[in-house]
Symmetry: C2
Subunit: 158 residues, 2 copies
C-alpha cells in the first residue's frame, strides 16, 4: 500500500464523517491516521497507543467511540476471532474481498483472495434468497510451510 493510497483512505473516512454531521477533531484525525497507516491487525488498545503517538491527548474512550464509525464505512472490519479483545483489520480498504487463514499452532494470520470463492459465495447466497453483503471466511489449520521454512511465502499482506 502506497502513501497515496493511505491518504485517499483517510480522506474517504473524514469525508464520511463530515457528510454524517460528525465533527473533524484532532483526536479523530489521529485515530484515522493511526488506523490506516499500517497493514497489521490491531486491538483497540493498540490503536490507542499508535494514535497517541500522533496526538497524545487521544483517550481510550474516544478510540472506542470512533472505531464503530470506521467500521461503518466498510473500510475497517472487526475480525471476530473469539473470546478476548476484538481485533481490527484495515486491509479491507485495499482488498475488500480477502479471507483469513489462521495457523492453530503459531496463531499467525495469512490473508488471501480468491475470485472463484467470491463467485460461488455470491451464487449460493442468491439461490438462498439473499442479497449478499459482507462475507467472512476464516480457515484454521496447521501451517506446514511455516513449520518447514519459518515463514509463509504466499501472504497477501506483509
Amino acid at each position: 500500500m502506497t502513501k497515496k493510497d493511505q491518504d485517499s483512505i483517510q480522506e474517504k473516512i473524514l469525508a464520511y464523517m463530515e457528510s454524517n454531521g460528525l465533527r473533524i477533531t484532532n483526536q479523530r484525525r489521529a485515530i484515522v491516521e493511526a488506523a490506516f497507516s499500517t497493514t497489521d491487525h490491531y486491538t483497540a488498545e493498540e490503536l490507542l497507543d499508535s494514535a497517541r503517538k500522533i496526538d497524545p491527548s487521544v483517550s481510550r474512550a474516544t478510540v472506542y467511540r470512533t472505531l464503530p464509525v470506521l467500521v461503518q464505512t466498510g473500510l475497517l472490519r472487526e475480525l471476530d476471532l473469539g473470546r478476548d479483545q476484538q481485533v481490527y483489520d484495515p486491509n479491507y480498504a485495499t482488498h475488500p474481498n480477502h479471507n483469513h487463514l489462521i495457523c492453530v499452532d503459531c496463531q499467525k494470520i495469512i490473508e488471501f483472495e480468491d475470485y472463484c470463492l467470491d463467485v460461488r459465495e455470491s451464487v449460493l447466497a442468491k439461490n438462498l434468497g439473499f442479497r449478499p453483503g459482507v462475507v467472512k471466511l476464516r480457515i484454521e489449520g496447521s501451517c506446514e510451510e511455516l513449520a518447514k521454512t519459518g515463514s509463509c511465502s504466499k501472504r497477501l499482506v506483509h
Copy 2:
C-alpha cells in the same frame, strides 16, 4: 435430527469425558443433554436455563466450565458473531461443514452446506501451505425471500 442421533451425540461426549479422566456428574449429564436436544443456537445463559430444567442444581459456573469441553470434542462450536455474548451452535454434530447466512435486517441465521465451497477452500488452504482444519464462513446479507414471504424456505435447520 432424530432422538437416536441426539442420544448418540450425547454418548460420544460422555465417552470423550470419561476417556479424558473427567467424571460423569449429574450436572454434566444435564448440560450435555440440554446442549444437544435442540438445533437452535444458544448462549451460555440460555444453556444454563435449559440444563436447569433437567437438573435444577446446575450452576452457571459449571456451564461455563463444561462448555469448553463440548467445544473440544468438535461437536459444538462457538459462532464468534461479535462483541456481546458467545453463541453456540450444536448443529456441527450432524452437519460438520455447514455455513451461515445472516440477515442484516432481522438477524435471522440460515444454515447451508455446499460441497463445491468445501473443495475450493481445501485446495486453497493446501496451495498456501496449510493443512486445513475448521472452516468458518459467514455471509451477511438481506433476506429478500424473508422480506417477501415472511420465511426462508431453504433453511437447513428449522
